[in-house]
Symmetry: C2
Subunit: 361 residues, 2 copies
Amino acid sequence: MTRRSTGARGRHTIRDVAARAGVSASTVSRVLGGAYPVSAATRTRVMGAVRDLDYVADARAKAVAGAGTPTLAFVLDDITGPSFTHMAHGVEREATLRGHLSLVCSTDGDAEQRLAFVEMMRAQRAAAVILVGGAADTPRERERMIRTAESLRAAGSRLVLCGRPPLDGDAPVTVIEYDNEGGAQAICGYLLAQGHRRILYLGGAPDNSTARGRARGYLAAHHALGLDPDPALRIPGDFTRDSGHRRTREALAAGLGFTAVFAATDMVATGALTALREAGLDVPGDVSLAGYDDIPFARDLHPPLTTVHVPYEELGRLAVRSALGRAADGSHGADEHLLLGTHVVVRGSVAAPAAGRAGAP
Amino acid sequence: MTRRSTGARGRHTIRDVAARAGVSASTVSRVLGGAYPVSAATRTRVMGAVRDLDYVADARAKAVAGAGTPTLAFVLDDITGPSFTHMAHGVEREATLRGHLSLVCSTDGDAEQRLAFVEMMRAQRAAAVILVGGAADTPRERERMIRTAESLRAAGSRLVLCGRPPLDGDAPVTVIEYDNEGGAQAICGYLLAQGHRRILYLGGAPDNSTARGRARGYLAAHHALGLDPDPALRIPGDFTRDSGHRRTREALAAGLGFTAVFAATDMVATGALTALREAGLDVPGDVSLAGYDDIPFARDLHPPLTTVHVPYEELGRLAVRSALGRAADGSHGADEHLLLGTHVVVRGSVAAPAAGRAGAP
C-alpha cells in the first residue's frame, strides 16, 4: 500500500503548466480564472497540463477556481422524468461544444432549493441559468421570476425560461416555449376523429402551466366539434408513471365509462397502459391511449404509443445557443420569445372505438 | 410595462434579514457563508427572508456565496439513463434533508469535463463528490482517482465512488459497490435452470467495470454447471436502448441461434424486446429475455421484464449518509467499503425453451 503525500503536490508552478500546454502563463491564468475569451481547445490543453502535473493553484487562484470554468446552469423539478433529462443532455452537449460546463440542479419543486442554486450560479457568474418545466402560474411566482431575471442580469448572466410561461413587461429573460395547447388539441382532435366521445384526461397539478396548456388543448379539440366533455373525465395528478397507474385503476373502479385515455405525459401513459392491461382491457381494441412528449421508450411500449413529439434534446441545445449567442454579441435589449411547434406521432395505441362496445366500464 | 430598477435592490441590511427570520445577524452570516452547523429549518427561514427582502449581500459575502450553501456533487456519465437519475434523486432527497444542495454534472464520459467539475466543487468546498457508474478499470484511471481523492481531502471534502471499482492502497475514498457479478450470476443461473443453453449476452464497453462484472457473472453461472458458453454469443456495446435494438437485429440476422437474451441493462433489454417483436418472435414463447437494474418501467414492458433489482435511490441516499455522517464525526481514518446485494425479480419475460423449437434462428 502506497500512501501518497499530499505535500508532494503543488510543487509545479504556473510556468510549468504553461510550458507543458504550449501556451503563455497568462493564458493559463486566464483559463483558471475564467477570463474570456479562451477557445475550447486551449482550455482542454491547459486543463490537461494541470491534470498531468497535478498543479495546485495558489490561494487566490483557488478562490476564483469556482469561476474558473465558464458554466451554464440547468434547473429542473424532477430528474427522474425522461423528457427533461433528454433536454439536459442537449444542454450539456451544446455547452460542451462551446467550452462551458453545465451544472444541473433538481429541486423536487422546492422554491428554496431553486433560489439557493440560482444564488450560487449568480455568484459563479454562470453565463446563463435555464429553468425548465411547468410552474405555478401565479403573480407571486412571476414576481419571483422577474427578480431572478434582474439579479442574474446584474451579474452579467441571463435567465432562460424553457417550457415555462413568459413574464410580464420587459424583464430581461429569454423564453422558449413549446406548444402545449396546440399539441394537445391536435392529438385530442385525432382521438375525436376516430370516433371517441368519452376521453379520460389524466392531467397534471391544477396550477401547473404545462398541465393547464394541455388541458386547454383537450377542451379546444372538443369545442371545435361543438362538444362539451364531461368534467368528471378530467382527473388531475402528478406527471409520473405511478400516478397514471393509480388514476386509471380508480377511473375504472369508479365506472367512469371511457373509450380512450389522453395522458398528459408519456410517463403517465406508461402507468395507464399497465393498469388497463391489468384490468384485462386490450389497447387499442377496448380502450385507445395517447400520450405527450414522445420520450424514447414510447415506441418500445406494446402497443407502441401514439403521442405528441416534443424535441427535448433540440430544445436544450436551442436554450444554450440563444443564451450564449446573445452574450457573444453583447446585446441586452429586446426580450426574446420563441414558440416551437409539436406534432402527433401516430403509432399503434389508438383505434376507432369497437362497434357495439362501451369501452371501459 | 414596468421596468424594475436593479438599483432599488440591496437597500436592506443583514439586520433586516435577521429580524425577519427571527435569528441573529451572525446566524444570517453563517447561513450565507456556509459555516457549520446550521439546521435545515434555520437555513430555510433565513433564505426565505433573503428572498422576501430581495437582500443582496455585500461584495465579500457575494464572493463566498458560491460556498454559501453547503453542497454535494454528483457526477454521472449519461443523464438520460434512468438508473443513475434515480440514484441522483436519492442523493438530492437525502442532501435536502441534511440542508445541502446537490449539484449534478453529466460528463458524457469525458474525463476533462469531470476534472473541471471536480475542481469547481473542490473550490466550493463541497462536502462530498460522488462519482457513479462503471469506469475504465486501468492503472491510469486508478491513479487519477487517487489524485482526485487526495485533492478533495486536502480541501476538506470527500470522494465517494459508487458502483465503481475500489482504489488500491489507502486512498481517502468511500466505496459503495453493488454486486454486479453476483446479480448477473443469479439471473443467468435462473435462465440456465429453465433449460436455456444458448444465451445471447448483450454486454457493455469491453473495459467498463460494470460490464465486466456482469460478464463475469454470466460466465460463472455457466461454469457452475460445467458449461462453456459460445464466445460468439457475447456482444459488447453501449448501455442504451438503441444499442440493444441494433445488436439484437444483427444477432438475428447473423443466425447466431439463441433461446434467451441476457441484456446488461434494462435499457438494452428494452431495445432488444422491440427488435425481437419486430422479427415476429414472441417473448417468452420463442425467446426469453432478462435485464439488469430494475428501472421503474421494467414492469410496464410487455411482457413485464424479469431483471436484477438494484436499489438505486437507496444507493444515492446511502452515499450521502456515508459521506456526511463521516464528516460529522470528523474521522478521516479507515477506508470505507460497502458492497450491497442485488436480487432477481421474476416477472413474465422468461420461460423454458419451447420443446422442439430452436428459438431464434
